[in-house]
Symmetry: C2
Subunit: 276 residues, 2 copies
């Protein structure tokens, strides 16, 4: 619920018109609502319903949509699949069952890839979802260009409609904006430490360990040092993390600060304790 | 609900141990159940719960799991995240919010890619999900190796727990068995037509159109023929579909069958009407 302080702008920018979702004769308003919410999560807005069993509008749908009101408000109801897809140029029929039809079967990733390509050409694309109980009939599948099915465990293949919508919508967004995430590790605010500072950390640790004769027998010191340095390298430490660890070592040495070993430079990168 | 008559065996074979899912202090049994169902859809089985608010076992969870009983029966309850992840080697913290922690942030696809790599090395991987209201706290995130977030629309980022579990589980299965679908277009049962038969279809259509002087003016015939042939090529017709279309042309010609033009071969590939 909490808003992110900073959103990566690339996560917002989707230039393509997203596909529409057509629900064929859904029985439960809740499923319409959760499908609308799943669409909104990934930027889809155009929801069409063919003959909803309990009519429209539906307060249960709105409640289940968890504030995806813009999708619910835009819903259009149709009397047939033909009417619902009339203005579209490419339609995927989603089905969990093998069909005796010679129609290409795609995963949600392949379908989304093609859907973004079609959208870039200006074609309107739709995903057609069937009834809760028994999906789409063969006449409805015959209206579609291709079939989409999910790579489920065949032994537990029953997906709720909103879940099927969610995966298709997720894949569409991944393909449409190359998976841009709302946030990433802030590489600018967390630059990796300079090697100079890392080497000082190594030397600080090694001199502290020399003080307690950790390196035994002495001839093993070089390989033990290499091991420790490799371990610390793996952590890909930031500047601030190097300072924190130098503070840790100084504290374990029981000296609150540690004389700098650098050649007359300023001490601003010296050890300091850090708290979160 | 209907079982597929024939399942592609590659959709079943996942050699890797799937990751476990840890739900941290979930409030609603329904969410535990729908998360369990989402796991089962993509072959995940190990569900761990830290301090479920309404206790465990939960009949609401079992009902919401829609027969994912094997996941519900295997649930283990823990008193702390530390206990729940003790036997794991790599943990993803899922979060919808940017964190002030220098920890890599991955999309579900990148995380799944790494998770399958780790599983192949024998490492146990877990995905940690937070509370319905406010997710994970920073101490819990600090127990994780990396952060996973979904490429949602930043303006509608609120996902239900089961939906977040679903996308992570989906991506894991895509990566773990290379997106093998339970079924594909049966290329063996639906082989593309031989070019010889396709050319006969072309010639049949063209001679029928000659009979009604469709090609006008006559000098345009060659380019019109090329257009028609290109249109029919785009349909990537199967053997049976070629036969169906020859039956269609014969019917429009008002002759139920058409003499074969081949050079004394058998007539078994002659026109025949097809019904679905």
């Amino acid at each position: 619920m909490t808003r992110n302080a900073s959103i990566d702008p690339s996560a917002r920018s989707v230039d393509l018109t997203p596909p529409c979702v057509i629900l064929c004769e859904p029985q439960l308003g809740e499923n319409i609502g959760t499908a609308a919410r799943a669409m909104a999560n990934f930027g889809l807005v155009d929801l069409r319903i063919v003959n909803p069993r309990d009519g429209w509008p539906s307060e249960r749908a709105r409640a289940a949509a968890s504030r995806a009101d813009h999708v619910i408000d835009g819903v259009r109801v149709f009397a047939s699949v033909e009417d619902a897809i009339a203005d579209l140029s490419f339609v995927y029929a989603t089905t969990a069952r093998s069909r005796e039809v010679p129609k290409p079967v795609r995963g949600p990733d392949e379908a989304a890839e093609a859907a973004t390509r079609l959208a870039a050409q200006g074609a309107s694309v739709g995903y057609l979802f069937g009834r809760e109980r028994w999906g789409l009939n063969n006449d409805e599948v015959a209206l579609a260009d291709e079939i989409v099915t999910l790579p489920v465990d065949p032994d537990f293949a029953s997906l709720n409609i909103a879940q099927a919508v969610l995966v298709c919508a997720y894949e569409w967004r991944v393909k449409a904006n190359r998976g841009a995430l709302p946030f990433r590790l802030d590489e600018v605010a967390n630059p990796p430490a300079r090697k100079e500072d890392l080497v000082r950390l190594f030397e600080h640790l090694e001199s502290a360990l020399d003080g307690v004769t950790f390196f035994r027998p002495p001839e093993k010191r070089p390989s033990m040092v290499r091991n420790l340095r490799n371990i610390l390298q793996k952590a890909a430490l930031t500047d601030q993390e190097v300072k924190t660890l130098r503070g840790v070592i100084a504290a374990l040495e029981r000296r609150p600060t540690r004389p700098c070993e650098d050649q007359g430079e300023d001490n601003s990168d010296g050890p300091s304790a850090e708290s979160e």
